[in-house]
C-alpha cells in the first residue's frame, strides 16, 4: 500500500499497547525494541540489523508506525521493533505515547537505546528514562565517527560505568559495531549479561511521593509492567499513564491515584500540580485514537 513501510509489518489502527504486544510477539523470537531520539540513525540501524529495505528519510517523526523485522544472530532470530523517535517517554505526543506504552506495557525482552554521540546530553535524557523502565537495556552509541569529526570523543567505557548498562559504540551506516551490539542483546536476553542500572534519584519528597503511588499503580497492571516509571508519569500529572489500564475500572484508579498524588504533593508543600486539568483533556491524544 505504501512505499515507506512495507519493509516491516506496520502495526496499524491506533497504537494500543495490547495490540503492540500481540503484534510483536512471535513464538521463540525475543522482542528487541529500538528506542531513541529522532535523527540518531535508529532506522538505519534497524535496516542494518534486519536487512529489510525500509526507507528512512532525515526528518523527525517519520516512523509513525512501528516497523518490525527479524534479525538473525548466531543462529537465533530476534524480532526487532523500531519505535518512533522521541525525546522522552512522558507521552506528551503521539510518538512518545507509542514508544512509552510499548516499553512500559508490551515489555520487550531487550531494549536498545540508540544515542547520537554528537549530541550526547540530550540523548542521555531519554536513556535515563529508559533505564527507569527496564533492566534489560543496552545503549548503542551511534554516529561515533561523525562525533569524532565534530571534535568530541566519547568514552564508551566510562559511560557504561556511569549508566550501569552495556554501551556499544557503532557506526550503523557502515555496519560497524553491530555484531558486538547483537552479542550484547543476546547476552541480555539469555541472562549472561546482567545490568545494574544507576537510576536517577529524584528530590527526596518526590521519591517519597513515588513510593506512595507505585503500589497503587502496581495493583492495576499486569505483572512485569514498569510500575516505577508509570508512577513517575502519574505523579507528573500524566493521565494517559493511568488510562492505559483500560477496562479495569480506570475511573476508580484515576480517582484513587489522583487523590493520592494530590495528597502527597500538597503534603510536601509543592501545591496542587497545575497540570491536572490540562492533562485530563490530553488523554484522548495520548490514547492515540483519531476522532
Amino acid at each position: 500500500m505504501v512505499g515507506h513501510h512495507h519493509g516491516g509489518s506496520p502495526v496499524s489502527d491506533g497504537p494500543t499497547w495490547a495490540d503492540l504486544g500481540r503484534a510483536a510477539r512471535a513464538p521463540g523470537h525475543p522482542v528487541v525494541a529500538l528506542a531513541g531520539n529522532p535523527n540518531t540513525g535508529k532506522s538505519t540501524l534497524f535496516n542494518a540489523l534486519t536487512g529489510l529495505r525500509q526507507h528512512t528519510g532525515n526528518w523527525p517523526g517519520k516512523t509513525v508506525l512501528l516497523a518490525q523485522g527479524v534479525a538473525r544472530h548466531r543462529g537465533k532470530s530476534y524480532t526487532i521493533v523500531d519505535l518512533p523517535g522521541t525525546y522522552s517517554l512522558f507521552a506528551s505526543s503521539v510518538e512518545e505515547s507509542v514508544a512509552s506504552d510499548f516499553l512500559c506495557l508490551a515489555r520487550p525482552d531487550v531494549t536498545v537505546v540508540v544515542a547520537d554521540a554528537t549530541c550526547l546530553e540530550r540523548n542521555l535524557n531519554l536513556a535515563l528514562q529508559v533505564i527507569e523502565v527496564t533492566d534489560k537495556v543496552a545503549v548503542c552509541l551511534n554516529l561515533v565517527d561523525e562525533a569524532r569529526r565534530k571534535g568530541c570523543e566519547c568514552d564508551a567505557t566510562m559511560l557504561e560505568a556511569e549508566l550501569g548498562v552495556p554501551v556499544v559504540a557503532t557506526v550503523a551506516t557502515k555496519g560497524r559495531g553491530l555484531g558486538r551490539l547483537m552479542d550484547t542483546v543476546a547476552g541480555l536476553n539469555s541472562g549472561t549479561i546482567t545490568t545494574r542500572p544507576k537510576r536517577v534519584v529524584y528530590d527526596p519528597d518526590v521519591e517519597e511521593a513515588l513510593a506512595g503511588i507505585e503500589p497503587l499503580v502496581t495493583r492495576k497492571l499486569p505483572p512485569g509492567a514498569a510500575t516505577r516509571w508509570l508512577a513517575v508519569r502519574a505523579l507528573c500529572g500524566d493521565m494517559g499513564a493511568l488510562e492505559l489500564v483500560g477496562d479495569m475500572s480506570a475511573l476508580e484508579l484515576v480517582d484513587g491515584t489522583g487523590g493520592a498524588v494530590r495528597k502527597v504533593t500538597e503534603g510536601f508543600g509543592l501545591g496542587p500540580a497545575p497540570s491536572w486539568p490540562a492533562a485530563r483533556s490530553t488523554t484522548s491524544t495520548a490514547g492515540g485514537k483519531s476522532s
Binding site: 529522532p38 526507507h55 528519510g57 568530541c152 529524584y202 507528573c236 509543592l270 501545591g271 476522532s291
Partner: protein, 449 residues
C-alpha cells in the same frame, strides 16, 4: 505583557533531575577536543535566509523536475519502441495459435498495450525523480522547507508538520495520509488529511511530465529549452497545488474545522551526507518498483475493461462513447471532453492509469496510431482536438480532482468516518471543477487556443 510564570510543578523537578544527571554524565564522558568545522550552520544560512531561502527551494524543485523531464525522454522512447515491437510479436503469435479475435483484443489491445504504456511512460521519470527526492530527503532538506514555509501554515490555521506529510504525499498520497498521524491535534490532522491530495503524487507526475513535454515541445524546439520549459510548467502545477493546500486549509480552519494552531515544534537535524549508492538502490526498489507493480496490477484489468467497454457497441456507438457523450457538456465546460472525464472516473483505482485509459478509449474510437513515443501521443491528442489549453485543463484537473481509491480507503481507515472520507473526495472535486471551469472560461474569453 509578560505572562506570569507558572509555579514549579513536580514534572518540572522530575525533568530537571533527569537533565541534571544527563549533564553531569555527559560532562564526564565527553573529552572535548578542538571543535572541527561543522558545515550545517553554513548550509542552513543559505537554505533558510530571507534572500536565498525561497529561490533555492524553487530552483531545487525546478532542477529536479528538469533532470526528470530531460532524462526520461530518451529511455522512454527506447522502452516504448521495445515494448511495442514485442506487441507485434505477441499479436503474430496469437494469430498463429488461432486465438479468436475477441481474446486477442482483450489481451493484446487491452491488457498488454495498457501495460506497455504504463511502463514506458511511467518507469523512466519515476526512476529519476524518486532517487533525486530521496537524496534531498536523506540530506535533511525537508525540515528546512518546513521551516521556511511554516508561517504560511500558521496563516492557514494548520500544523507546521503538514509540510512533512505533504512531502510524503509527493511519493504517495496514501502514505501522506498515514503520515498525518504525527500531527497531534485532531483538527489539524484532519486538515492535513483532507488536503494531502493537492500534492502531486508519483502516480500523476509522469502524466504531467509527458503532457507538458508534448505540448511545450510544440512551442519550444531545442531539447534543452523544451525540457526547461516543460519543467517550468510542472513546477507551476506543483506550486498551484501547494497554494491550493494553503487556501483550502485556511478555508477549513474557518468553516468545518474551526480553531487556532496548536503548539508545534520542528527539529532541524544536522545535514548528513546520504549514502548515495544505497539511496539509489532503495528508492528504486522501495518506491519505483513498488509503485510500478501497483500500477501494473491495476492497469491490467483496467486495460481489459476499457477494451471491452470500447468494443461493446450499443446503437452504433461503444459504451465508452456513450458515457463520453453524456459527460461531454461537463467536460467541455472545464476545457476537457467526455472521454477525459470517463478516463478519470475509470482511473479511480490508481491515477497512473488515467492517461493510458484515455489513450485506449481514443484509439478505440477508430484512430490507429503506433503508440510508441511521446510524439505519437501528441499526434493522437491533437487528432482529438487537444490544444495546449486542453492539456492545461487536464493537468489542473489531474492535480486537483478526487484522490485515488487507495488514498480514500486510507482516509477512511485513519478517520473511521464516512463523512470525512466523503469530504476528502468531494472537496478536491469541487475545487477541480471550479478551477478548470474558470481557467477554460478565461481561455475562451481571451480567444486563445
Amino acid at each position: 505583557m509578560n505572562p506570569p510564570q507558572s509555579p514549579v510543578t513536580v514534572a518540572d523537578r522530575v525533568v530537571a533531575s533527569l537533565y541534571r544527571r544527563a549533564e553531569s554524565i555527559a560532562a564526564k564522558v565527553i573529552a572535548p577536543r578542538s571543535p572541527a568545522q561543522d558545515l550545517t550552520p553554513v548550509i542552513d544560512r543559505l537554505l533558510t535566509s530571507r534572500l536565498t531561502g525561497f529561490p533555492i527551494m524553487l530552483l531545487t524543485l525546478g532542477a529536479v523536475l528538469w533532470v526528470t523531464v530531460v532524462g526520461a525522454n530518451y529511455p522512454s522512447q527506447v522502452l516504448g519502441r521495445l515494448l511495442f515491437d514485442l506487441q507485434g510479436w505477441l499479436s503474430g503469435a496469437m494469430t498463429a495459435a488461432g486465438a479468436p479475435a475477441w481474446l486477442h483484443g482483450v489481451l493484446v489491445s487491452g491488457v498488454y498495450r495498457t501495460l506497455a504504456w504504463v511502463v514506458s511512460v511511467m518507469l523512466p521519470p519515476m526512476a529519476i525523480f524518486f532517487p533525486c527526492f530521496t537524496l534531498l530527503e536523506d540530506l535533511g532538506y525537508l525540515p528546512r522547507v518546513a521551516f521556511n514555509l511554516d508561517a504560511a501554515f500558521k496563516w492557514a490555521g494548520a500544523c507546521g508538520k503538514q509540510s512533512l506529510t505533504m512531502s510524503m504525499g509527493f511519493g504517495c498520497n496514501a502514505a501522506g495520509v498515514i503520515a498525518c498521524r504525527i500531527i497531534d491535534s485532531p483538527r489539524e490532522r484532519l486538515i492535513a488529511i483532507l488536503t494531502n491530495n493537492f500534492v502531486i503524487c508519483n502516480g500523476r507526475f509522469p502524466t504531467l511530465i509527458a503532457l507538458s513535454t508534448v505540448f511545450v515541445s510544440q512551442v519550444v524546439q531545442t531539447t534543452i529549452g523544451a525540457g526547461a520549459a516543460a519543467a517550468l510548467v510542472v513546477v507551476g502545477i506543483v506550486l498551484t497545488g501547494i497554494v491550493m493546500t494553503f487556501g483550502v486549509s485556511w478555508l477549513l480552519s474557518r468553516t468545518l474545522l474551526r480553531g487556532v494552531p496548536s503548539f508545534y515544534t520542528l527539529e532541524l537535524p544536522p545535514f548528513r551526507w546520504p549514502q548515495v549508492g544505497r539511496v539509489l538502490i532503495r528508492s528504486v526498489i522501495d518506491r519505483t518498483v513498488f509503485v510500478l507493480l501497483r500500477a501494473v496490477a491495476v492497469a491490467a484489468p483496467a486495460g481489459a475493461l476499457v477494451w471491452v467497454l470500447g468494443n461493446t457497441v450499443i446503437e452504433g456507438h461503444s459504451v465508452i462513447a456513450h458515457l463520453a457523450g453524456w459527460l461531454g457538456p461537463l467536460g467541455r465546460l472545464m476545457g476537457l471532453d467526455g472521454f477525459v472525464l470517463v478516463a478519470f472516473i475509470l482511473g479511480l483505482p490508481a491515477n497512473e492509469i488515467v492517461l493510458p485509459i484515455l489513450v485506449m478509449s481514443y484509439l478505440g474510437s477508430g484512430m490507429m496510431v503506433e503508440m510508441d513515443s511521446l510524439e505519437s501521443l501528441g499526434i493522437l491528442l491533437a487528432a482529438h482536438g487537444w490544444s495546449w489549453a486542453t492539456a492545461l485543463s487536464y493537468m489542473l484537473f489531474s492535480l486537483l480532482h478526487w484522490p485515488c481509491a487507495t488514498t480514500l480507503l486510507t482516509v477512511w481507515k485513519e478517520t473511521r468516518s464516512s463523512r470525512w472520507t466523503f469530504a476528502a473526495a468531494a472537496i478536491p472535486t469541487a475545487v477541480a471543477v471550479i478551477v478548470c471551469t474558470f481557467v477554460a472560461g478565461l481561455v475562451r474569453l481571451t480567444g486563445n487556443a
